[in-house]
Amino acid sequence: MNFWLVLTVNSVTFGGLLFLLSAGFSLIFGLMRIPNLTHGSLFMLGAYVGATFVVGLLGFQLNFWLAAILATLAVAAFGALAERLLLRRLPGDQLAQVLVTLGLSFMAADFCLLVWGGDPLNVATPAGLGGFVRVGPVAFPMYRLAIIVIATVVALGLWLLLDRTRLGAMIRAGVDDPDMARVVGIRVSQLFTIVFALGAGLAAFAGIIGGPILSVYPGLDQDMLPLALVVVILGGSGSLLGSFVGSIIIGFIYNFGQALLPELAYFVLFMPMLLVLLLRPQGLFGRHVP
């Protein structure tokens, strides 16, 4: 009984982390119509940068949350720069843009190796959340529950952004019909930069928040990118609800799969993605077909 309970909580936690990772990927895919193959690297960059701030930089040790915010902003800025300097030079050429994100992922991965070396970095659980919460006979790590709360808060925040703000309305218009949006006067290329930066920031935030659980190591990007891909294909590109539901589902499939069918773990993970691409390419809640 305990086993299933723990597995369930871990699944929801992982789902929360996946949501933070894939919400940005989904927005980028929905608006710019490209699968951002740099997304895993952005997650990893956020984790490394955040971990560095936490562990101590130039003698300053930062509060975990402050470090997380700084890492998020830094990587978001990097994302904005990459979009403006590189992707914007290939307007409308989605294939070329995907290739650029691929090249960037190579560069980012090696950059991390250069700066932080090959050893994994452990990120200490932030102060106050290191304990356990007792529910009946079971003790859950407090931090894992905290992640669920954080993911929910961010989800709400994103939903408010998309649903209640002018920027959100413009993003939704761009996702639905970029040509029409341009005609109506929306500066779609500016939106691209904003959304790419937002996506990068979210991925980075997910990376550092996930640090205490996943730690930070070379290859983290290769582990996380396919998960973002699966979630967004399943949930549907450009849909926040899709990312949310997809993250939870994949969180469960991933954890239960590893526990119950270790030999077929990846098969079980990618099958839903394949089935969706074949049978319902727009995903559960998607706005359009990739």
Binding site: L86, L90, L102, L104, M107, D110, F111, P226, E263, F270
Partner: protein, 325 residues
């Protein structure tokens, strides 16, 4: 035209005489690697360059042929059986890939092939009872066709060279054939081709099989070269690397994939001795080519050369004196 033939002749002589002018076994081995990766790139180019379908899962097909060879040898079969089975497994896998991915084109095709490649990688990584997982499978001996042992770098190189030249010849014939023209037609105007009576799906499917054959051949050469196969060979980064080879060299050309393969292999093997962060270099080169010379190095350099030639000729012309006949 004859300049081209001379260049080809020189290249042929250079390739055939590699063991005589390469400074050592290490470099002969690099040459072998360039050749079988070039075959891999030629295979991917059939889809990327001639069919207009970008695959990010080809390392899975490359790897499955390698694993099939290693596995057959491991359970006691001889080289001929292992190679035949590997070719069949490779082509059959490609057929499955094709049926699933040809439902889409463009970005959809990229994602389905990516997913399929990841599935194969995941199976190689986790189906430990079959593949040994991360430990991989070792290949103890290289084959000895007709008594010639392929253990030495020289003999392996020459075998690879023969297969490479056959592949290039096959590709040359393919590109000039009516089927090649049909395939390129479906790349440029699929709707028009359909309206002209062509079976676009079937054409693409056959192209996939051709691609699968070349990929399987290169996978088999690979596993005999390294005498080892592990899941890393099927990872997304490996699929990205071969795509890099095709695109950096020039998709849709005959020499592009070969140049691209040489570029990537040289950076991975030789340059990596001097620059530790060669992946960064590879990524940077890729981004630069996609943005600045999207047609690839081979067509791009040819274009620049023609421009330079024209500029030289233009400035060399002396304007005619006025009034004189």
């Amino acid at each position: 035209m004859s300049a081209r033939l001379i260049a080809l002749g020189i290249a042929f002589v250079a390739l055939v005489s590699v063991p005589y002018w390469m400074p050592g076994d290490y470099y002969i081995n690099v040459a072998s690697q360039i050749l079988f990766y070039a075959i891999f790139a030629l295979g991917l180019n059939v889809l990327v360059g001639y069919a207009g379908l970008v695959s990010l899962g080809h390392a899975g097909l490359f790897g499955i042929a390698a694993y099939a060879t290693a596995y057959m040898l491991q359970i006691g079969y001889g080289h001929s059986a292992a190679i035949v089975v590997a070719l069949l497994v490779g082509i059959a896998s490609m057929a499955v890939f094709a049926v699933l991915s040809l439902r889409s084109t463009g970005i959809g095709f990229i994602m389905i092939t990516l997913a399929l490649g990841e599935i194969l990688w995941g199976l190689a990584y986790r189906w430990i009872s079959l593949t040994g997982g991360d430990n991989g499978i070792n290949v103890r001996l290289r084959p000895a066709p007709f008594g010639f042992s392929l253990t030495s770098p020289n003999t392996f190189y020459y075998t690879t060279l023969v297969i490479f030249l056959l592949s290039v010849a096959a590709m040359t014939v393919f590109v000039r054939s009516p089927f090649g023209a049909s395939l390129m037609g479906t790349r440029d105007q699929p709707r028009r081709m359909n309206a002209l009576g062509y079976h676009v799906w079937m054409i693409r499917f056959y192209a996939c099989l051709v691609s699968g054959l070349l990929t399987a051949v290169s996978g088999i050469l690979f596993v005999y070269y390294t005498q080892f196969i592990s899941p890393q060979t099927l990872a997304l980064t490996s699929s990205a690397e071969v795509l890099l080879m095709v695109i950096s060299g020039g998709a849709g050309t005959l020499f592009g994939p070969m140049v691209g393969a040489a570029l990537v292999v040289v950076v991975k093997t030789v340059v990596s001795g001097y620059i530790e962060r060669w992946n960064f270099l590879l990524g940077a080169i890729f981004v630069a080519i996609v943005i600045l010379m999207p047609e690839g190095l081979v067509p791009g350099s040819a274009r620049l050369w023609r421009l330079a030639w024209r500029k030289m000729n233009a400035s060399a012309k002396v304007p005619a004196p006025e009034g004189k006949p």
